[in-house]
Symmetry: C2
Subunit: 189 residues, 2 copies
Amino acid sequence: MKEQGEKYVSSTQISKQINIDASQIAKDLSYLHVSGRTRVGYEVDALIEELEHFLGFTDMHKAFLFGVGSLGDALLRDSGLHHFGLEIVGAFDVKPELVGRVVNGVPVYHSDEFEEKMKTCGVNIGVLTVPINIAQEITDKMVAGGIKAVWNFTPFRIRVPEYIVVQNTSLYAHLALMFNRLNERIQKI
Amino acid sequence: MKEQGEKYVSSTQISKQINIDASQIAKDLSYLHVSGRTRVGYEVDALIEELEHFLGFTDMHKAFLFGVGSLGDALLRDSGLHHFGLEIVGAFDVKPELVGRVVNGVPVYHSDEFEEKMKTCGVNIGVLTVPINIAQEITDKMVAGGIKAVWNFTPFRIRVPEYIVVQNTSLYAHLALMFNRLNERIQKI
C-alpha cells in the first residue's frame, strides 16, 4: 500500500488483504506504539516502522550456521534471511572439501574453530542444519559456547537449558504432514 | 541403529534417542502395521520400512515450484526434499533472465506455460515461493490448473477450496518469533 502511495490503512483493509479477522488485527496492533484514527485508520509509514521494529526485522541479528549440507547451503544462499534481519556471519562443518570455502559471502570454518570465533563475533543465534545423529551434540556445543537461541531445522527434539530459545522449523516434517493429508484426500475421492 | 547392526529396538530406546515419552511412541507406532514384541521391541528393518511408507517418503511426489527468487532457488538446490519424496519437476517464473535456465536439474518455464505443463507432468503439489503480493493470484492459478496441495512458504494466508491441502511453512514468520523470544530473554537478564 505504501508503494501504491496510500497514506492510511484501516484494519478492515488489512483484513481483506491478509484474510484475518479485522477485530483480531485491531487487537494485535494494539500491542504496538501506533494508534489508529476512527474512519481513517493507521498511518502506513508509522505502521510499517513499528511492525518491523516489533518483529525484530530492523536490527541485524548475527548468527552462525552449523552443518553446510544441502539445506545449510540453501539457507546460506537465501538472501531473504538477511532481508528480515538474520545475518549469518560464519558457518561450521568438518568436511575438508567445505572448510575454507566461502558460500554467498559466508566463510566456512572447521567446527573446532567455533569457540574461538564466538569470542570475536558477537553472535547470539545458531542455525542447526546438521545430520540428526549429531543434532544434540552440536546443540550442547553451541550452548556451552554462549549461543542464546537455536533455530533448529532438524526433526530432532533438541534438549537445552531453560534460558535458551529454541525455534523448530522442520521442513521435512512439514513435508510428511502434507503427503499424509494429500493421500487422505486422494483416497476419499 | 540399523547402521550399527541392531536388529531390534524398543520404544524405551527410541524414547531416549528422540526425547519423547516411551508411552507416546508405543501409541504412535500402533498406527503402523508393525507390532513390537515384549522385551525385544520392534524389528528395525520392518519399522523403518513401515515408517517411511506411512510418512510418504517412499513414493515420489511430483511438484512444481512457483517463484524462483532467493528462497525458491534455495529449495531447488536442497536435495533433502528429493530424499524425502518430493521431486520438483519444473519451476515457473516470469523473469526473462530465469526462464529457460536449469537450476540443479530443474527447468524453469515461463508462468504462462503452467497449464500446458500440468497436462503432461502428473503433478499434484505446488510449492509457493512467490512475493506476497501475488501469492493469492498464483494459488488461484495452481488450483484452477489442477494442483491438489500447496506448500506455502509465504507468510500470506492463502485462500483455497476445501478439498485443497495447504501446508504453511513460513521461515520468516519463524524468524520473527525467534527474535521476539530472544529479545524477551535478553531483557530479563
